[in-house]
């Protein structure tokens, strides 16, 4: 099993979407936008946020020094940060090295297509200031988005 979970965070530090797979044998296993993952999402955001502050500080030349992946002995976290402040995050087993292109594809071909171009969905899920700074709980539940994401990632789960 190569992919464990997928997360999206917006510029307000809110977790917009999370998908966790729990069984290698079944790509439809696991949870979508689970309440139990709220705490995990906060921890994940916190870890990447603080590591990002380090890497940006240590960066030498003007192009921002973005984190590509963080590896532990058990898993690896791949990140893709967009200029608009979105974070696309994938956790995989620690052997996998580069999922940058996968995340870029999810951003450009799935997120932009089904969320940005959908006029019936908000372009910013935080509706008022009290839902910013990680306090928002609104999630992306768009069925086209979820279906496209599932079918795109399913072949990679059992690698």
């Amino acid at each position: 099993m190569a992919i464990y979970s997928f997360w999206i965070f917006d510029k307000h530090c809110n977790c917009l979407f999370n998908r966790e797979w729990t069984l290698a044998a079944n790509s439809s296993s696991g949870t979508v936008n689970s309440k139990q993952n709220e705490e995990t999402a906060k921890l994940l955001y916190g870890m990447i946020f603080s590591l990002r502050s380090i890497t940006l500080k240590l960066s030498q030349s003007p192009p921002a020094n973005e984190i590509r992946s963080i590896s532990t002995g058990k898993y690896r976290v791949h990140t893709h940060c967009t200029a608009s402040g979105m974070w696309f995050i994938l956790t995989t087993d620690f052997k996998q090295q580069s999922y940058g292109q996968v995340l870029q594809y999810i951003y450009s071909h799935i997120y932009v297509k089904y969320i940005t171009h959908n006029l019936l969905a908000p372009f910013d899920l935080a509706e008022n200031p009290s839902e910013t700074r990680g306090q928002g709980t609104r999630k992306i539940n768009n069925r086209h988005f979820i279906a496209a994401l599932e079918s795109f990632l399913a072949p990679m789960i059992m690698q």
């Binding site: 069984l23 916190g46 890497t55 020094n65 984190i67 532990t72 002995g73 620690f94 052997k95």
Partner: protein, 209 residues
């Protein structure tokens, strides 16, 4: 893989040693203190984030944390070759003395267990790769190296680089225990001022590139 910097962080997140090897302008020592404590925090969070699939499957496919021994990491290449030969001949005295109180031609010669099971081991960014080796006592040795190319054909490449880094950092740990722990003027958890330790580390890092 050239080493740009080496940091040592004590078990409570304080920076006890840092040395910058690149001639790029470095940050203030205050910045390094912040970096050390931030890393320490993020390291602890990472162990909380183990994916459910891993937690559930842990019993069935236990990960092997043994790090293979990679010979002569941190030794000059010519010296390493010489050592290869000397292994078959009699013991080379000059080399054994250069390793301080360690006997033999390398600090250790056997695979070892990584104590860093759920914390961060590697952090890849656009510009550099950071490796973290944690000892059983909670001491962290950190190496910042130049960026590893992402598209190396060998899919095992990042794992090998982790292993090389772990070997190097473990040797620095050996040097630490030899020169810092035996320094009668050193008080635990305080910044390392040992000239000999610094010299050894510099020497080892300069042999890496």
């Amino acid at each position: 893989m050239a080493i740009k910097a080496i940091l040592v962080i004590n078990k409570s997140g304080g920076l006890v040693y840092h040395r910058n090897f690149s001639n790029e302008e470095s940050l203030s020592s205050n910045d390094y203190l912040i970096i050390a404590s931030t890393l320490h925090g993020a390291f602890a969070i990472a162990s909380q984030l183990t994916p459910r699939a891993v937690q559930l499957g842990e019993a069935s496919n236990a990960v092997d944390y043994t790090i293979p021994y990679i010979p002569y990491v941190g030794f000059p290449r010519s010296n390493a070759n010489q050592n290869e030969k000397s292994r078959f001949s009699s013991n080379n005295v000059s080399i054994t003395t250069s390793l301080g109180s360690f006997k033999g031609d390398d600090y250790f010669k056997e695979p070892f267990q990584s104590w860093n099971k759920s914390g961060i081991r590697q952090l890849c960014t656009d510009q550099f790769t950071m490796f973290i080796y944690q000892t059983m006592t909670g001491l962290k040795f950190i190496a910042i190296s130049t960026q590893i190319p992402a598209n190396v054909n060998n899919s095992d490449y990042p794992i090998i680089s982790i292993q090389v880094a772990d070997n190097l950092l473990r040797k620095i740990y050996c040097v630490y225990s030899d020169y810092v722990m035996k320094d009668p003027f050193y008080s635990m958890e305080m910044p390392i001022k040992s000239e000999l330790f610094d010299q050894r580390v510099r020497q080892m890092v300069s042999n890496i590139a």
